[in-house]
Symmetry: D2
């Protein structure tokens, strides 16, 4: 991945408890760097296994729709990534765990070769969960051996590859949670993935507006620390003056939209949005259920009453856009969002909070709240390459660029995002009809 | 099920080794009858568990197409049948294992209530395989208690219900094998369910014709022993003189059909058959694969070279019909088949042989061979009610009658049929495009 | 078409006013026969054009669903039939009207060659209606020349071919009316094809039952007069004693079924029928509309109030079957129907009545009424070959046999059937979910 | 349409021969303005009828895919626009031509009411072509009466509405040609809409690059003359230095792409593009056919040999994007394109040239060629609202804004665009998989 080669790895990485992981030594010479790489690798790989721990063999096997992948597939695919892009090119005597896995666990890298069709990932009872555990151990041991025995030059080559592989694994950690939530939601028993406390009492602040001057600004990653290729190049863009809401749109506000006939009023929808609402019979966000006149919401901790203070989540771009039009506002552009976020600390409700669901804004919070964590925020920006963007040569260049059409950008990270994974320049993206990600939104407007 | 009430249970039941199970005492009074019922129940229930034994939790969870059900669903649904139709109406203090299971494991009984959609059976990771084992034990214990404590009158009521439940479970034993074969065939690893010996050397007899006079015959079940409602009433029908081939059509003969362009010649196909061939890209029976110019066949024992002597299997009605037309013959009607089979012993290659695949005809066999076992034989008879057929009142009446359209009758049983389950009057049925059953065929003609 | 060669043509042919057309001379020698052939040809060909007369160029071009063909396609395809099967093989210097028409107007004869896909017949604005008129004239002139100049031997060859072509054209006359009714029904303006008087006042007879003894009977065509190949061979079949309702089921009776929740009661439906009801949202027969609480029916004369006395029409097999089960009866088999109809005169409400819609039974009628005309009557018989049936060699053999699966037999003819076209042995057939034919039903039962 | 109210109408309008239509008097007082409005109205309305003239009643009725509308629907819908938005609100005694037409000919204005489903426009044989001619005359007469009798104030109100209606009609003139081309392409006879001369001999200039400095530029419509709402507001945007190819990509260049395996190389395609290529079996641009090894192209003048010099046309965004990646370049953004075009005269190969197909670039041309006319040029810009964009209140506000997702912007106009209709700020848009528009492309790059 060309743009990231030579970048110094992120110094913002934190462990699962949210403590900073010392990675400042990562590019120093010698054993300290090796230890840092190995430690970092282990921390992240172990989180994947911890996330899968509450899930039985049956849970890990199911694919509930083509967009969803089985847990065990995530666990194997992230392992395949290291095997394919790190071990096979760089560890001389590396013995592949199973030659068939290259076909089974390639996701979409056309240049690597044929692969198992995505919608059929749920048809693979074998390899078993246990065998995939064996696969992970095999690759982990080889990775350790590779790093420990790497000379200075090889370390320089490996560091950015390992960094990419670990960031890739973090993305799949979030996907694993999104996906198992969808799987469980299809089961009439509505199983819980984990226990989590509902938010305590307290009020949230009223909506207020934070103003920004705009002008000729720069956005995009500046090359300090890790970033995906789609975050660069850093470039100039012009912004008119604008304002952002201080917090996310809540479930309570969205309920008003529903009760005001939001889902029955074509005039506030994009044409494709309206067609989607009708074709799929949408009447509320995904995972909302009206039972005996009460709105319930399905969470990773099971089904419970809707809390009107919590951010609305699992809405499509179409719903976010329609709400904004109904409310007389609009969504922010990604440049507006990034400019506002650029100096904020990357703190918030991420996976390590254990909530696994967005939480109400703090009642006493001032300024912009909930910019990081809780929910990915839909922007009104289509996912396009930044000026001067060129993907890397080879298979690794397929990582991001080839999805740059018919998708919208989301910003900020969510309650399922692993520690240290997101940042102000991070560009997430989904098609406008997707709802199974932890996606919500914030309002914006001209000033 | 009205037609079976008052019938005496089948005396042909055999255990898993093929030995006859003494059921002659089933309708005598007292403890002997209770012991026979319990013994019979246990024998058949245990076979289901033995068939599931080679399958891990992941294997038992997968649904590879809407027609297929997961192994664990079969195990739960057959248990639900006893819980719903036997225990809940007849065991006073019976405690339901889990109230949700009524929704999850009802197959198609509209009169019982709402149920989980069939194409979504593969989305249920919970209840787990282990929990379903618990469900089975719970119901088995209750069944034992019910029979042991039943008085004379209740025993008279229970016997035909248990008999129906056990025959139902046997149908699902065969389905379990058909279905897991399909599941495994979707996995590029082509896992084997069991090991099985390929047939030894030896030749098969040439095709010869057995002649029958026809005339005014009677077909259908005569009320002696168990039968499904669709096998009656016994009735007259007129047959012109006809002949049947002495054995099943072989894989080798079907290969000639393929090599002669059978799949590219519209003139020999039914119009819907030809449309199906084109829409699905059929070029050979299901589970045949041409690899480097050699035909391989996927079996429950894994993939191996095709044996030209073995009966062709996993063909649709369309393919059987097209082959027959290509060969200048036709398929038999179900009346012709039954009339020919009526005095033959019900012996053949059933599930207890362990072959789990049809076997070549015996080289020295005389007369009609392979009428029972090996493959279900497509007939040219659409599945219609016999004259005077009336389904039972209530939910149990939904068992057969409501499928009597757009399906064709198959006769004889197959290599996955459990011991004692089939008979000359048995009417199996599938839509003409189905291929995942162990379906083959035999030629017929006017005399 | 082998079975018809050597048959004497139907002597029942009537002209458009219902007068008998003298065809007794058809197989005599000499000019009288030639004149008869030509006269007969002209009469039937002209009826096609008269049926198309009320339709403008736009009307004749539209295909409202894959099963429907545009009027102009019917007019061209029937012409192509004579060009392909009569003129090109038998008229030495015949000049094809347009070589492209062979591709455009072949319906389904695989052995004739490639053809325009059926669902795309509505994409052909060219050839224009006017050009198709030219095509018809061209072929008619050549046909006249061929017959006039044919010697004795050629006349023997031509007669059965022309007879088949004319019976084929009559089938398309009925299809033309069925199809344009569907086309017009898709237009919110609900145009009328023709004016027709609604039935006058008067009562209909109550349902009563006509009894039949059954026994060993013969059905199928005996070779006297024209018949399609699927009507033979004549053969024995055994019937138990049975009874038939004296008249067709009425719209009023069907309304009771609806009001009794017929469309919401799964227990009375075939499983596929129930799935179809739900998938398509059926709540009433095709062409019924409830407007301000009143049932209206769309007819070829436009929309008008439903008459409770008229036979229900445009129901699928599934609906007929569900009604019969709801009423505690069943549909007749085709053998029962034919045995009952065999000695009745073929009179009734056919196309020449001008009603173009089924009419109420005669209040003073005795015995079986409405056996011919009004509506095609669904039987419970799947469409299968009769014992000993063999289709003809060559393309003409594709006429009927290749549709013998997944269809049900209908008997009797309807209000759109041309004069002289139907008879007691006539086997019409449609898939069980088809509703756009003029299909209704009569009840039957065991005696 | 708010943004256009108060705008002065375009002074660039030309008549069908390309001569400038004097519209400078349009906003002057008195009769001169009335005459100008009426003259302008007549000129444009007559062009619609002239474009429909070569088409028979059958041609005008067909809808070959859901995106296509029948010719007669275009003629009626444009008329409905004047009836609905001009006559009914402003002509006191206006008598609606037919109340049913409001339902039939509303395209997508949700706020106007229910409407005939778009994919069923081809099911309307009635109203006939002749009746639609009557509808047009009726509305034209009323329009003339309205304008002639309008006082000063009403004229001020009417002028922008009429202007919008006429620009709307011009869009449908282009659609009419695109659509009938698709209709005719579905006919195996490949009818020609018109005769047109193939381009004469001569060479085209080699590709060269025109450089632009970028910087902080302004794009969007400045309010002088007519524009659609989506062209504004005019706003600042930042451009890095860039270059554009001097001319369009040719059919010959695209042929090289094909011959180099462009359609078989996933690495150069967007992921959705590659999925589309495979799902639809694309191997060349729409309307290209390889016949006996020679590439033919279907044009509005029928099928002829491909001219390697002519611009490639009828490619999707996916194909344009893949070609650009294959060539080592990219597509321009809409801001780059507009900045380059802003000072160029709006001249080129529009509909009045009669070519109805893009023409080769001029061999001796200097600078940017073919910016206007020939083909709509795909840009890499998703179709999004400009900063500060707000659609108008009411139904007219549905004109553009509600389509701003999942579409890409095209610029410049094409060989089917009517005279005076396009300009540098004009934003056309189609989904990235659309090919039936006259869409081609030009390469761009960083400088």
């Amino acid at each position: 991945m060309e743009p990231t080669v030579g970048h110094r790895p992120s110094v913002r990485l934190r462990d699962c408890e949210g403590r900073m992981v010392a990675s400042t030594h990562l590019y120093r010479d010698g054993n300290a760097r090796r230890d840092a790489l190995i430690g970092w690798y282990r921390t992240i790989r172990q989180l994947t296994d911890r996330l899968a721990e509450p899930l039985g063999a049956e849970d890990q096997t199911i694919q509930s729709m083509p967009d969803v992948s089985p847990t065990k597939w995530h666990r194997a695919h992230t392992t395949w990534f290291f095997e394919t892009f790190v071990l096979k090119p760089h560890l001389a005597d590396y013995r592949e765990y199973d030659p068939a896995f290259g076909y089974l666990f390639n996701s979409y890298y056309e240049q690597i070769g044929e692969r198992h069709p995505r919608p059929q990932r749920g048809l693979l009872s074998r390899p078993t969960v246990e065998q995939i555990g064996g696969y992970r151990s095999h690759v982990d041991a080889a990775m350790q051996r590779l790093v420990e025995t790497a000379d200075e030059a090889l370390c320089n080559t490996l560091a950015p590859l390992v960094e990419l592989g670990l960031n890739h694994e973090q993305q799949h950690q979030e996907l694993l949670l999104m996906d198992i939530k969808h799987v469980f939601s299809c089961n009439p028993l509505r199983p819980a993935y984990a226990s989590a406390q509902a938010p305590g009492p307290g009020s949230i602040p009223p909506t207020s507006w934070i103003h920004f001057d705009g002008g000729l600004v720069e956005i995009g990653h500046d090359g300090t620390g890790f970033a995906f290729d789609n975050e660069g190049p850093r470039h100039k863009t012009w912004l008119e003056p604008y304002r952002l809401a201080n917090r996310l749109v809540t479930a309570g506000a969205f309920l008003e939209f529903i009760e005001d006939g939001g889902y029955e009023t074509p005039a506030i929808w994009l044409s494709e949005g309206w067609a989607t609402v009708q074709a799929r019979g949408w009447k509320a966000p995904l995972y909302w259920e009206e039972i005996d006149g009460e709105w319930q919401v399905f969470t990773l901790a099971g089904r419970r009453a809707l809390d009107s203070r919590e951010p609305v989540v699992h809405v499509s771009y179409y719903e976010a856009d329609a709400f904004a039009r109904w409310a007389g506002h609009r969504l922010p552009t990604e440049a507006e969002w990034e400019t506002a976020a650029t100096d904020l600390p990357v703190v918030g409700n991420f996976v390590e909070s254990g909530a696994l669901h967005p939480r109400p804004a703090a009642g006493d919070g001032a300024g912009l709240q909930q910019m990081f964590g809780d929910v990915w925020e839909w922007t009104m920006s289509p996912y396009s390459p930044y000026p001067g963007f060129r993907p890397a040569e080879g298979a690794i260049g397929e990582y991001n660029g080839k999805f740059m059409v018919n998708q919208m950008v989301l910003r900020g990270g969510c309650c399922a995002t692993p520690p240290g994974h997101t940042r102000a320049t991070y560009r997430n993206f989904f098609p406008p009809d997707a709802r199974w990600a932890f996606s919500g939104f914030r309002l914006a407007d001209e000033r």
